[in-house]
Structures are given as C-alpha cells and as structure tokens.
C-alpha cells in the first residue's frame, strides 16, 4: 500500500517538474518572440542618455549578451532564486510587486472559496433531499442561470447596486488583512476595513462556484442517499436532519471538495477581473497594469508565478485525494 502511494507521488512529482520546465521555456520564449530590439520594445520610453540606468538593468535581467541557451539557463537560475526582473518604469523589482499583491489575491480566493462552500453545502443537501420536487427544480434552475452569468457582469451589477446606489458597502479600495504582513512586513493589519472592502469582491467570485459545488454535492448525495446504510439509519429512527448532515454529507462531499481544491485555476481567472473591477491591489490588477503599459518582463514573471502556484496546488490536491482514496492510487499506477 505504501509503495503504491510512494510510486504515485513519485510519478506525479516527475510530471510536475516536467510541466514546470516546459512552462519556463514557454515564458522564456514569449519575450524573445517580440519583434525588434527587445530593449526598445520592452522599455520604449527609454531612449536617450538619462535612461542608461534602465537600459542597463534590462540588459542584465535578460542577459542579452549571452547565447540563447545561456540566457535560458540564467533565466531559470534567476527564477529559482526569486529574481523576476524589474518593472522598468519604476525600477522596482517584480518580486517586490508580487509580495505586495499576491496576498491580496490569495485572501480573495480563500474568502470566495469559504463563502461558496458555506452556501453550497446547505443548498446541495436541500436539493438532494428534495430531489425531483419543486424546490429542487428551483435550485437547479437558479444555479443553471448563475453558472451562465459571467462574473464581470455580476461584479458590475453588485458594484452598481450595492455600492453606488445603496451605499451599503465600498466598491473600491483595500486595507491589509491577516496574510499581507507575512509577505511584506510593513503591512499592518486593519481587519475591519479589510473585511468590509473584501465582502463584495469575495461574494462576486463565490457566486459562480456555489452553483458548481452545489450540483456536485447534490448528485453525489442523491447516490449516497440510496445506499443501504442510510436506509438502516432511517429504520433506526435517526432524524432526517441528522442523517443528512452527520451520515450522508461526509461520503458525498469528496468530489465537491476535490473540485474545490482544483478550482484554483478558475478562481485565479475570476479573481483577475474581479480585482480590476473592484480596484483591489492584487496580482490580477498588477497583470492588468502590466498589460496596459506593455510591461512585458513584468507580465512574463506574473505568468510564471501563477503557473507555478497553480501547478503546485494541483499537485497537492491530487496528492491529498490519492491519500484519501486508495482506489485512485491503484488505478493510476500501472500494475
């Protein structure tokens, strides 16, 4: 059993490394595909002697004097050391910008995930319990509609209604929360303001996921509710509520939780546009600004950071899933 697990982990680790390797090549090539002199394209404002500093910095970062292979090698070594290049218009290292913005996005995604599960679980249970009835229909229909609703539409709508018209919640701005100080020591937590600022964005991001998780839980629970041990419990006289929450929930939630764990990619995509609309200084907004100012080196580094994050999280969830569900290990390791 243990060797199975180890083998599984080993295979997945190898896959992880390969994927990261190819991603690094891809991002490395992105910039070199730009036509013309890279320095000219990347920092077009920097003609003239007063920008000698910026140009030199860029040349160093890109290692343009070396061979292509040499450049790639220094690029990878640099990545491993956390050198992500610079934002040439301000001279700031990209790693600093990442430190400032990543915790914002992470907190946003965590809150969204929590909110969506908090709503999805009761709704999923209800829908499964009342499968086939009008309640179930209603829940299904609304979740269907929510799934089709683009999150930028929801963001704009909430921003307009709750922020601009009703003035109940702020629609722009951010205060540091509990995670920021670990990335950037100078950020002191202002929890109250932080949470108020994060309510609308988190809810916006959560809404779409609620529908997905709800459906997953519902379908798994419908199957679980037909199992023998449930019938047995009912026969024993245990209340419905107890059955649902205590007995049926846990075995039915595996798929939902797995998907929740693997949903990082969707969350990241959603977070970017939510941050831009709600003016949160997260990675999404940084990416947006890098694209706007055609700050290619910065953009490339953000892509790398996100890819690495994403791949690593997927690996961890996969690993967790494998630990929890032995069938998977067996299925995935060739005899």
């Amino acid at each position: 059993m243990r060797t199975e697990l180890l083998r599984f982990i080993a295979r997945r680790l190898v896959q992880l490394v390969i994927v990261l390797f190819v991603v690094s090549i891809f991002t490395f090539l992105l910039i070199r595909l730009l036509p013309g002199d890279p320095v000219q394209t990347i920092i077009p404002f920097a003609k003239g002697p007063q920008f000698a500093k910026e140009r030199a910095q860029l040349r160093r970062d890109l290692g343009l004097n070396k061979s292509l292979l040499g450049q790639y090698w220094s690029y990878v070594i640099g990545l491993l050391q956390g050198h992500l290049g610079h934002q040439y218009s301000s001279g700031l290292p990209v790693s600093t910008l990442v430190d400032q913005s990543l915790p914002v996005s992470l907190q946003l995604m965590i809150y969204a995930q929590v909110i969506s599960l908090v709503f999805a679980i009761p709704l999923g249970i209800l829908a499964a319990y009342r499968a086939g009835t009008k309640t179930d229909s209603a829940i299904n229909t609304s979740s269907f509609a929510l799934l089709a609703l683009p999150n930028f539409v929801l963001a704009l709508f909430l921003s307009f209604l709750i922020g601009a018209k009703l003035h109940w919640l702020p629609t722009a701005g951010y205060a540091p929360g509990w995670l920021d100080q670990f990335f950037d020591g100078s950020q002191h937590m202002q929890l109250g303001q932080h949470l108020t600022d994060m309510i609308l964005p988190s809810v916006t991001l959560a809404v779409g996921q609620i529908a997905v998780y709800m459906r997953l839980l519902r379908s798994d629970m419908i199957a679980t509710l037909q199992e023998n041990f449930i019938t047995l419990a009912k026969a024993k006289g245990i209340t419905n509520r107890r059955i649902l929450w205590r007995h049926a929930l846990r075995p039915s939630s595996l798929t939902m939780l797995t998907v929740a764990g693997l949903n990082v990619g969707t969350l990241i995509g959603g977070a970017i546009v939510v941050e831009v609309i709600y003016d949160l200084p997260g990675m999404g907004e940084k990416i947006f600004q890098a694209v706007e100012s055609r700050s290619y080196v910065e953009l490339q580094s953000y892509v790398v950071v996100i890819a690495v994050l994403f791949v690593v999280v997927n690996f961890l969830v996969d690993f967790l899933y494998a630990v929890l569900d032995p069938r998977i290990r067996r299925a995935r390791t060739p005899a």
Binding site: V19, L20, A211, V259, I272, V273, I306
Partner: protein, 364 residues
C-alpha cells in the same frame, strides 16, 4: 463496413464518470461554471491527467433532473425553452450579419451625437428620441453599436471554437486512438497549456501578439484574428481532453477493432469510424464553448486587450465606459445582458443536445 452507431456518450456513468460533455458554465474565463480543470480519474488511462470539465458529474446531474423545462421524452420534440433559446440565437446572428453587411442600419455606430452623449433609455432629462437604448459616452447610438458588436463577438467566439475543435479535437482523437507514446506526448502538451489558468494565458498571448500600440497602423494581424488565435489556443487542451477521452472509449468498440483487423489504415479509421461518433457529442461542447468564448472576449476587453476601438464588440463597449457605471449604467448593462442571455441560451442548448444524445445512446 461495420455499422457505426450514431449518438454518443461515454459508457461509464456512476459512480466515477469521466469524459463526456462538460456541464453548463462559462469555464475558466472569468466566468463561474464548470471548472475546466477538475481532475477526473480516467480508469482507462491511469497515466494521464484528465483535465476535463466536471462533466460526468453534471452529466449525471442532467439525467437525474435536467435544467428547467422538465424532462425530455425520447423521440419527442424540443420543449418551449429550447425553442426560445434557438430563436434568441437566430435573432442575434441575424442582427449581427445585418449590421456587418450594412443591409439594415439602426443608426451609425461610428457617429457621435452630442445631444445623446451618455443618455440612457430612462435618462433624467428625457431619453434621447430616436435612440431606444440610449447612447454611449460619446454619443454613439447603442443599438447600432450593439448590433455591430454582436458581429465581432460572434466572429471571435465561433472562430476561436473552430480553431479549438479542429486542432484540439483532431489532436485529441489522435491521442485517444493511438495511445501509448503519442498519447503521452500529446497529453503532456495539453497539460502544459493547462498549467497556466486560461485567462492568464489568453491575456499574455493577446498582449504579445498585439504588440506595441503605435504599430497599430502597420500591424499585420487584425484584432479579431489575434483574439481567435489566443482563445483558440487556450481552448485546444480543453477540447483535446474531451475528444481524447471520447476517442479512447470508442476505440475499444468492436467495430473499430474489426476495422483494424481488416487492415484499414489508421487515418481512415479515425476519420471514418471515430469522427462520426465523437463529433455529435462535441457539438454540445461546441455550443458551450461558444458561450465561454463570448464571455472570454468580454473579460479580455475589460482587462484592456482585444478588439480595439472604435470597432465595437460587446466586451469593449463595457470596458470603455465602465467608469460611467454610476451615471450612465445603461452603457454597461445593455451589452452585459446580451452576453448573459446569449450565454444562457447556448448553455441551455448545449445541455439539451447533450442529453438528447446520451438518452438516445442509453436506449440502445
């Protein structure tokens, strides 16, 4: 030739379904919906990561209790909702084509009228007469812009999905049919493309392809083309995964094995036997994909890339006047509603198509 059975679907269903069409949703493009990166355990091929939509589950779901409109009956016509959805799509396509070809005009999408600037349909000072949906911030008629924008949005989304299906679908079938090394390589490629969240990848591709602003006059690639490429490339692994899983299961059917035994060439088998069986299911995914791509265009526009003004697209109409949300919300909400309704219609139709095929299959 052994008879190929039309209709589709992945044989396995509960408890760990795989392959098949993804459920409704708007994918990872900043829309909620089926996460395109749910890992499904693919028992047929343990050595691969099957990044599919949480399809199978929603598929189960759909069979258990489909979207609104109740259950379909085998062999019966479509219900009312489906017809409404079809009518809506026809309407949008018609408007788009009429606007682009100039056959019918409701106003000039590129003409600014000062008296109409920023006035909505319910404007306080009285709405601008003759402009039923109001105007945008510089006084261009909304109806005209939305109609022309429909063309851009549809062009980009249909084009991108076509690219995704032709390339992704083709590669997927090849991977599913040949298996082994070919499959490992292709699946690996898919994995790499999937390792960057869809929207980040699309954004980066567009930013690098569109290049520097002042080269706009000399740029060789029109905006819609760049978008089709970017969204298309991003959709390749998603479609590829699905067609691969489908091709995989069909490849193990008797008639394919028989064809092989008879010495038919691989290419012939793939085109003659696999494609007709895989394709119908993919149709459902295609409809879904178009919805996702339309939302993607909107998201990318808000993030500052994509179709550049003054050419309108549903996305860039929103993006340009997002700052006027408080005072002129109509500019943002009119295209938003159009995007939402179109995505909804396509999702619904995709669902209907899928359940049709699978119900038919299960009846065999």
């Amino acid at each position: 030739m052994p008879c190929s059975i039309p209709g589709f679907v992945v044989p396995e269903r509960r408890p760990s379904p795989r392959g098949g069409a993804p459920g409704p949703g708007t994918g990872g493009f900043g829309g909620p919906g089926a996460p395109a990166d749910a890992i499904r355990r693919d028992e047929a091929d343990p050595s691969s990561l099957a990044f599919e939509g949480d399809a199978g589950l929603l598929q189960v779901d759909a069979v258990a209790a489909g979207p609104e409109g109740g259950r379909r009956r085998l062999g019966q016509g479509l219900n009312v909702t489906a017809w409404v959805a079809i009518a809506w799509m026809a309407f949008i396509v018609l408007i788009a084509v009429l606007a682009k070809t100039g056959l019918v005009t409701w106003g000039d999408p590129q003409n600014s009228i000062a008296s109409c600037a920023s006035k909505g349909p319910f404007a306080q000072g009285g709405s601008a007469p003759g402009h039923l949906l109001g105007c945008d911030s510089i006084g261009r008629d909304m109806i005209a812009r939305l109609a022309l924008g429909a063309w851009e949005s549809l062009l980009v989304s249909v084009g991108a999905i076509t690219v995704g299906f032709v390339i992704g679908g083709g590669l997927g079938i090849i991977a599913g049919y040949f298996g082994g090394f070919v499959d490992t390589v292709l699946s690996g490629m898919f994995n790499v493309l999937l390792s960057v969240p869809a929207i980040v990848l699309a954004l980066a591709l567009v930013a690098f392809l569109q290049g520097s602003p002042e080269n706009a006059a000399n740029s060789t690639l029109p905006d819609w083309f760049v978008l089709i490429l970017a969204i298309g490339i991003v959709s390749i692994p998603l479609v590829g995964r699905i067609s691969r899983a489908s091709a995989l299961s069909w490849s193990q059917r008797e008639f394919v094995l028989a064809a092989r035994a008879q010495g038919a060439k691989s290419g012939r088998i793939m085109i003659r036997e696999l494609l007709p069986n895989v394709a119908p299911a993919m149709f459902s995914i295609a409809l879904l994909g178009i919805a996702i791509a339309i939302v993607a265009e909107g998201t990318l526009a808000i993030l500052g890339v994509g179709v550049r003004p003054p050419t309108p697209s549903w996305g860039n109409i929103i993006a340009l006047d997002r700052g006027l949300l408080l005072t002129s919300p109509h500019i943002v909400f009119e295209p938003s509603i159009l995007i939402f309704l179109t995505a909804l219609a396509l999702n619904y139709l995709g669902d209907v198509v899928r359940t049709r095929f699978e119900v038919r299959e299960s009846g065999i």
